[in-house]
Amino acid sequence: MDSTEVASAPEAAKAPPAGSRAGAPERSASSAAATVFPDLVYKEFLAALLVSILLLVWALAINAPLLPEANPGKTENPAKAPWYFVGLQELLVYFDPWIAGVGIPTLIIVGLMAIPYIDTSHNATGRYTLGERRLAIGHFLFGFALWWVLIVIGEFLRGPNWQIYWPWQSWLVPKSAEEKLWSFPWWLGLPLLAAYFGIGLWLPRRRWPWLYERLGKSRYASAILFTLLLYSVPIKIFLRLLLRVKYVLVTPWFNI
């Protein structure tokens, strides 16, 4: 069907939604139009139907958990958060609660919201591509995957006292939560942190000057800062696992 015909229908003159913001090279006049009814509506209907069936089968086959009644006097061990928050709970092993429970979630939300204001380019919009946006997609997928890996560890591998229990190990065998940990003294931690962020901000500009030029000062700084913060999470995890480091920076007010 062709679009001139459609436009002749009453109301349809309004049909293609109001144009995109000036300057965005969005609409090409020649793209073939389809009528929403039924071309799109039937797909939506089918999708909803399939998901309804899936959900119904799931609900008939598996019961939602219901443990004994809440008892403030009897601690659950382990007390696991719902799975979508277990990743944050897993971070409690490596970070103080104000970082794992407040700082990191806040940074994730702010960082996600900042994405479109940092990456304002127009290449490869509206289709799937890896090659043309290797950096952006790589970092995003890393963060996304990290979130899921932490969830899997917390949900399936953690047992009493939040110790690692492999699926074939019994939770009845106690594992000690005691661990000998040490922290960087401040005269080591402070320069290390400064170097991480300092070099992190300087090096990419040095190696890829076009990146700085394309993004400009504040976009470049925010992009690099959020990326460095993202990778600082697995770095801290590895410092803890390999070198038994508890804090990289100890101050009288807070520890990191």
């Binding site: 939604p17 389809a34 929403v36 659950e76 407040v102 509206g126």
Partner: protein, 257 residues
């Protein structure tokens, strides 16, 4: 000669009642395809025509639409669950048991609501992933991405507040762990760094605000219930209205240049 069927059909479709509800006939014409959308408040969320590209299931995987659909499923099953549930520690758990053992299909109802919530968390995350991978957050869609992130947060908070309501050991301790983190907030949490600057104590910090108490108890149950059934859904609905509106105002879903 009209057959019996045709006559019946005509009698119905020309009746005042029918015509007051359906404002046009159903013959497949472009005019009717357009009217089908514009004269129906629900379908009116859509434009009348869209570029062919936007039909591709392998572009959106219907994930945004399915998230919305699951929100509707949660609204309906949640409404039914409210008939059986009282947000008071003395009753909440018994009500869950009653639902399970005494109400027809009570378990199925509860399962639908619970698994639907889990599925919604999954679809909203995948929707975000697809929007990212297709670069659909770029101008002019920046703000709709921001609205989307707030919808992600609200979806998670809806799930989390709902988690406490069964009032079983799982609920109680998961929420205890979760809300303890609030006490660690810098400045405004009683155990957070710099808590002494503003004088945050267990009796006046953010955790107290969340729980209405220093630990999870009847006040917390009531607060979570109200947030879960009224407060957060209201915010989510408003955010979704903005979200869908912006999808259209930003020129429909994104597509290759």
């Amino acid at each position: 000669m009209m057959s019996q069927n045709q006559r019946l059909r005509q009698a119905i479709t020309t009746s005042q009642l029918y015509r007051s509800i359906f404002r046009h006939d159903y013959v497949d014409s472009l005019r009717n395809r357009a009217l089908e959308v514009t004269s129906n408040i629900f379908l009116h969320l859509h434009p009348v025509t869209i570029p062919r590209h936007a039909l591709s299931v392998r572009f959106t995987f219907c994930l945004g639409g399915l998230t919305f659909f699951l929100f509707l499923v949660e609204t309906i099953t949640g409404l039914l669950l409210m008939f059986y549930y009282r947000p008071v520690p003395d009753y909440a758990y018994i009500d869950m048991k009653t639902l399970e053992y005494a109400a027809q299909f009570g378990v199925v109802l509860r399962n639908l609501h619970r698994w639907g919530a889990h599925l919604m968390v999954v679809t909203v995350m995948l929707h975000m992933l697809r929007v990212f991978l297709t670069g659909s957050y770029r101008p002019p869609r920046e703000f709709n991405w921001v609205v989307g992130v707030s919808l992600l947060v609200m979806t998670l908070l809806l799930s989390f507040t709902g988690y406490l309501l069964p009032w079983d050991q799982l609920a109680f301790w998961a929420v205890t762990v979760g809300t303890n983190m609030a006490a660690a907030t810098p400045f405004i949490g009683a155990e957070g760094p710099f808590h002494e600057v503003l004088g945050a104590q267990p009796l006046n910090d953010v955790r107290f605000l969340l729980l209405g108490d220093m630990k999870v108890g009847s006040n917390a149950l009531l607060r979570f219930y109200v947030l879960h059934c009224v407060g957060l859904p209201l915010f989510a609905i408003v955010a979704m209205m903005v979200h869908f509106w912006r999808v259209r105002k930003d020129g429909g879903i994104s597509r290759p240049l």
